[in-house]
Structure formats: structure tokens, C-alpha cells
């Protein structure tokens, strides 16, 4: 339940099987302990089932080209979702400013190319995205404002700046290099999938192998306990929001590179999509537990489902109904298994 659960219970703590996984409370009856592996890896079972169903229902599904399509379609939201995972783990619920940040970075990256050149435009875009993150981080970490309202506010401002910059027009890329990178591949794997992979590794290392990562779990698990044990919680929370904005900025650049044409509102759908991926993966938005790998599974799950919907010929609009239903099933299962765990 929380990383600090050993503070609350004596006997069962030694039975905590695996310190890397931060989901186990200590003191639980045997029946519940038996359920634990299922609960912990239930999402993997679901993913396996869906892959199997997908492979059976549509022969094209396992085609390498199609699998690349799935990867390409989830890579951008996936990068953002890794950032959202950090925000969720520190207990910040979600970063609702990521969609506008993606748009802002993308329009700056493409729109500044004629005046600044592609490299400088990219840097300015990244800095603008990080600025949004710093704003969120300072307000939420230092001044402890409500994260939902603060990130909505930052998102509205970022959206306004993007609208001002574009004047409502679509920005087109002027640089061959960026677009070639976005659509290109390396050793047969699309570049944007590789970037997603790098971000996943970076996130996993941060959470699993650095002090900051452990502090994030501690802060999200129990803010007051973390503070009492000397963690500067304001910094930890701020870091999570800055890194979330950094991930959104990378996603914005990928967005610009892939499409080569963006407007001030292009990224708006990624906000809820990324939070949904985190939630489906089973990371609690209330902090203290979760992992990057869970989020990757959540991202893949939604991506594969959407792919299958297209492959079996359902209308595109049905994708949203299916996505919503899957989120509902996943979070309900999660809540119900948590209840039996007690």
C-alpha cells in the first residue's frame, strides 16, 4: 500500500517478498497472500490475454510492420506517461498541463525554424516546456498548491502562449533533418520507439536505482513521515513535475518531428490519454507505489486495443468507447483486489 507500511505493522514485514516492488503491505492473511502475485501481475495477464485474442482475431496483428505501427502510435503518449508516473508516485495525482506543453513545444520547435535555425528552435522549445514544469514545481512543491488546479492553470497559460505564437495558424516544418529523424528508423526500429525506450530506461533507473527515486516513493507514501525523516519533500515534488514537463517537451519534439505540421492545440488529447495509461498500468495516482514498467504495460494495453479495433474493422469512434471501458475495468479490478487484500 505504501512504502512506509513497515512502520505500521510488526509481524508480517519480514514476509515482504521483494523490496523492489512497492505494493505490499506487511500483515496479511494467507488467503490474501496467495492472491498477491495475481494482483501484482494481473495487468500482465490481461495484456497477455489481449495479445492472444488480438493474434487470433486478426492475422495481421503479429505482422512486424503492424507491431511497429502499434509502437509508433503509443510512443509519444508513452513518453508523457512516464513523466505522469513520477507525478503519480509523489502523490501529485496527475499533471494536467502536459497536453498544452506538448503543443507549445511542438509549435515553437517548428515555428522558430526559419528565424533561429532548427537546432536553436528545438532548444527554445525544450526550455519553454521546462519553464512550464518549473512553474508547476515551484507552486506545487514549495507553496503546496493543489496540483490539479495549478496544472490546469499552467496548461491554460501554455495554451495561450502557443495560440499567441501561432496566431491560430498551422506551423509547418522547414527542416528536412528533424522530419527525417521523426519518420526514420535505426536498425529496423522506428526512431520514436527508440526514444520512448530510452525515456523508459531513464525513468526506471531514476525510480529504481537513485536516491531521488526512493525519495519519490517515500514522499508519495507518507508526506509527513518523509519530511520527518529529513527528505526535502518540496524539492522531490518539484522534481517530479519538472521531469513530467521534460517528458512532455520530448514528446512535443517527437510530435513535431513525426507530423511536421502542428497547431496550438495539437497535443491536447495527450493529457488524459497519458493519465489513463498510468492508471490502467496500476500505478496509484495517490502516491507511494507504482513503476515505470507498469505504465509501459498500460500504454501497450491501450495501444494494442486501439490497434485491434481498427484491424477488426470497428469504426474509429468505437476506439474511445473501448479505451474508456478498459480503463474502467482495469481500475475497478484494481480497487476490488485491493479490497480483498485487506
Amino acid at each position: 500500500m505504501t512504502v512506509t507500511s513497515s512502520d505500521h505493522d510488526g509481524i508480517g514485514s519480514a514476509a515482504r517478498p521483494d523490496p523492489g516492488e512497492r505494493t505490499s503491505p506487511g500483515d496479511t492473511p494467507a488467503r490474501v497472500r496467495m492472491l498477491r502475485p495475481l494482483r501484482r501481475n494481473g495487468i500482465l495477464v490481461v495484456l497477455g490475454l489481449i495479445v492472444a485474442i488480438a493474434a487470433l482475431s486478426s492475422p495481421q496483428f503479429l505482422d512486424p510492420g503492424n507491431l511497429q505501427n502499434v509502437g509508433r502510435s503509443v510512443a509519444i503518449v508513452g513518453v508523457i506517461a512516464i513523466g505522469q508516473t513520477l507525478v503519480a508516485i509523489v502523490g501529485g495525482l496527475g499533471d494536467l498541463s502536459v497536453g498544452p506543453t506538448v503543443s507549445l513545444v511542438a509549435v515553437l520547435t517548428l515555428g522558430l525554424q526559419p528565424t533561429l535555425g532548427p537546432e536553436a528552435a528545438l532548444v527554445v522549445g525544450l526550455l519553454a516546456g521546462l519553464l512550464v514544469g518549473c512553474l508547476n514545481g515551484v507552486l506545487i512543491g514549495r507553496f503546496r498548491t493543489n496540483s490539479i488546479v495549478t496544472t490546469i492553470g499552467a496548461g491554460v497559460v501554455a495554451n495561450g502562449v502557443a495560440l499567441w505564437f501561432t496566431g491560430g495558424d498551422t506551423m509547418f516544418g522547414r527542416s528536412e533533418g528533424l522530419h527525417a529523424f521523426g519518420t526514420g528508423s535505426f536498425l529496423g526500429i522506428a526512431n520514436i520507439i527508440l526514444v520512448f525506450g530510452l525515456v523508459v530506461i531513464a525513468g526506471a533507473v531514476l525510480l529504481g536505482a537513485t536516491t531521488m527515486g526512493h525519495r519519490m516513493y517515500a514522499t508519495g507514501g507518507n508526506l509527513e513521515a518523509a519530511r520527518a525523516s529529513g527528505i526535502r519533500v518540496a524539492r522531490v515534488v518539484a522534481t517530479a513535475f519538472v521531469l513530467s514537463a521534460a517528458a512532455a517537451s520530448i514528446a512535443g519534439i517527437l510530435f513535431a518531428a513525426l507530423l511536421d505540421q502542428v497547431n496550438y492545440d495539437s497535443g491536447s488529447s495527450t493529457t488524459f490519454a497519458s493519465i489513463a495509461a498510468v492508471a490502467v498500468g496500476g500505478t496509484s495516482l495517490f502516491g507511494g507505489e507504482g513503476s515505470v514498467l507498469r505504465t509501459v504495460v498500460g500504454v501497450l494495453l491501450i495501444g494494442i486495443l486501439n490497434n485491434v479495433v481498427v484491424l477488426v474493422g470497428l469504426p474509429l469512434n468505437a476506439q474511445m468507447v473501448v479505451t474508456g471501458a478498459i480503463i474502467l475495468v482495469a481500475v475497478t479490478l484494481d480497487a476490488v483486489t485491493r479490497r480483498t487484500r485487506r
Binding site: T2, G91, V149
Partner: protein, 345 residues
């Protein structure tokens, strides 16, 4: 009285002060602002979001959130237009509000009885309802055959009013009376303050939560019907930004996202404030991006003010860590009769 106490008292009624300042400034700076036509137009526009804000206020007071209101609004508006032919305008409107209410009941059951976080439940239903609305219209907008109801619902009554505006005012006043004067209304604040506390004093918390989400769904649907009838058009894209706008308005009005605080009238004033600013900016021809930056800045100043005054400091910067913390303290006590996981995980 200390300075802090005075500030806090001022903060409690801040929305009235801010709204008054905004209206006075607009009246001085913009010659056409205080004409009856403009004020009526402004109120007409604000009434849809007011309906949603009222429902959302109930949910927030009970300590939860409803992200599905925007999609609910779009879907209900579309249903109200599509069903006009078979059912007639009143029948279609009633059907739409009923469906919206049922969506709310489904949200409420998932939150109260299955123990899923309201943020996630309503995120899922937001996506699903949008998909249903898109499927229903094939991605297009739908128009009503008869323009008469559309003209009626925004028609002028008593100079400043219209049927839309009257519905919104009735909704605000009725909800405020419910909240301030009735036992169920007061009970919502108890539930929002402490779910377990409410349960232990014998309040059927879960039934209340279902009721609150049903109300939120119905209000959003009513807003959707008013919007779509007014425009004689239904579209799946209505309400895309509504959640954000209304949450912003409600929070500026002084309702807390942490539960147990809020008032329908203040939320309505929050909506009016944003509508006034939008209206004033558009009359002056100030570009939309300035409005957005201004709105975002306003929102952030308000949350900063909240945290500066320390009103919510003890409860920290996130939504209450519902259930999790509560349960850990409960574990040492004898288990309550019912599973203690009515709320989020």
C-alpha cells in the same frame, strides 16, 4: 481580530469582491458592457456552465470529482436534438436529462460500492461518453428540425432574463437551499470532511455518493440540453474544454477540491466572473490568447492565495489521501460493519 483572521474572512467572500471589481472595471472601461442586450447575452452564455458548476460543487463538497461532465453535456445535448422528432421537445429534454442522471448513477455506484477513485471512474466515463457521442453522430454535428424551441429558450423575458437564465438561477438557489438548510445538504459536508466519520455516525455514505453523482450527471445533462437547444445543434465536441473551465470557476469561487467546503452561489459567481472577463475581453477585441493567459494566471493566483492563507495547509497539496490513511488508522480498531473502502483507493 488579527490580520490573518481578517484576511481569512475576506477570503471567504473573495469571489463577491473579485466579481464586483471585475464588473465595475468592465462597466467603466467598456461603454457597451452594461447594456441589457449584452448582460442578457452574457448570462445566457454563463447559464450552461452554471448548471455544470452547481452539480460539480455537490460532488466536490462530498470530497470527489466528476471529470465526465463535459462529455455528458455533449452526449445529452445530442440526444435532446436527435430525439426531438419521435418524442417532441419536452420529451427529448426529459429523456436526455434522465440518461445523464443514469450515467451519474453508474459513476456513483463505481465510486461508492466498488471503491474506485472518482478521478479514474469519471475519466473513463468521460472517454466512453465522448466515443458514444461521436458514434451517434458519425462525427458530425446534428441539427434540430424545428428552430422554434431554440428561439424560445434564449428569448427575452423581463428585460434581463430568458428561460435558460431562469433555469440556471432556479438550479443555483434550490441547490444552495438544499446545502444550507436541509439535513441531506449538511450531511454532504460531513461526508466530505471525513468519509469514515460519516459512516461511523450512521450516515449511509454510499447512497449519498450515488445521489451526488446522479445530481452532477443530471445537471450536466440539463446544461447540455440548454446549450444544444439554444444552438439547435448537437456536437460531440461541445464541452471539450468545459471540465477545465468549470473546475477553474468553481475553485475561484472558493469551493475546495479537498471536500467539505463550497457553496452553489459562490460557484455560480465564479462562472459569472470568468464569463464577465471573457465577454469584456471579446468586446474590447482583446485576442483570445491574452484571455487564456489571464485566466490561467487568475487560477494560479487563487490557489497560491489559498495556500498562503494556510486554509488548506494541514490537508496538504493533493486531494485527500482518502481511504489509505484512514484505513491504516482504523486497522487497529475493531473492523467497521461495512467494508471501509467506499471511496478512492
Amino acid at each position: 481580530m488579527t490580520v490573518g483572521g481578517m484576511l481569512r474572512r475576506l477570503d471567504a467572500s473573495r469571489i463577491f469582491v473579485i466579481l464586483a471589481i471585475a464588473v465595475v472595471l468592465a462597466a467603466i472601461l467598456i461603454p457597451n458592457f452594461l447594456t441589457t442586450t449584452n448582460v442578457r447575452g452574457l448570462l445566457n452564455q454563463a447559464s450552461v456552465n452554471t448548471m455544470i458548476a452547481v452539480g460539480l460543487t455537490l460532488v466536490l463538497i462530498a470530497g470527489h470529482i466528476d471529470l465526465s461532465v463535459g462529455s455528458n453535456l455533449a452526449l445529452s445535448g445530442m440526444i435532446a436534438i436527435v430525439l426531438q422528432e419521435p418524442l417532441g421537445v419536452p420529451g427529448a429534454a426529459i429523456a436526455a436529462v434522465t440518461i445523464g442522471g443514469l450515467v451519474g448513477v453508474a459513476n456513483g455506484v463505481a465510486v461508492a460500492y466498488l471503491g474506485v477513485s472518482s478521478l479514474l471512474v469519471t475519466l473513463a466515463s468521460m472517454i466512453m461518453l465522448k466515443g458514444v457521442a461521436l458514434t451517434l453522430a458519425g462525427g458530425d454535428t446534428v441539427s434540430g428540425a424545428d428552430i422554434a424551441p431554440s428561439l424560445w429558450i434564449q428569448s427575452r423575458m423581463f428585460e434581463l432574463l430568458s428561460p435558460t437564465i431562469i433555469i440556471a438561477i432556479v438550479a443555483v438557489v434550490a441547490t444552495q437551499l438544499l446545502l444550507s438548510l436541509t439535513v441531506p445538504g449538511r450531511t454532504l459536508y460531513v461526508i466530505g470532511g471525513s468519509d469514515d466519520g460519516g459512516r461511523m455516525t450512521g450516515i449511509p455514505t454510499r447512497r449519498y455518493l450515488v445521489g451526488v453523482f446522479a445530481a452532477s450527471g443530471s445537471f450536466a445533462a440539463a446544461g447540455g440540453v440548454m446549450l444544444s437547444l439554444g444552438l439547435n445543434t448537437g456536437s460531440a465536441y461541445f464541452g471539450d474544454a468545459t471540465v477545465f473551465t468549470v473546475i477553474a470557476a468553481v475553485v475561484v469561487g472558493g469551493t475546495s477540491l479537498l471536500g467539505a467546503e463550497g457553496s452553489a452561489i459562490k460557484s455560480a459567481m465564479g462562472v459569472l466572473l470568468l464569463a464577465t472577463v471573457t465577454n469584456a475581453f471579446s468586446i474590447r477585441g482583446i485576442p483570445t490568447f491574452v484571455l487564456q493567459v489571464f485566466t490561467g494566471g487568475l487560477l494560479m493566483s487563487v490557489v497560491l492565495l489559498d495556500s498562503y492563507l494556510g486554509l488548506r495547509r494541514r490537508r496538504s497539496w493533493r486531494l485527500r489521501r482518502i481511504a489509505v490513511e484512514d484505513e491504516e488508522t482504523l486497522d487497529s480498531a475493531p473492523p467497521p460493519d461495512r467494508p471501509a473502502m467506499a471511496r478512492a483507493s
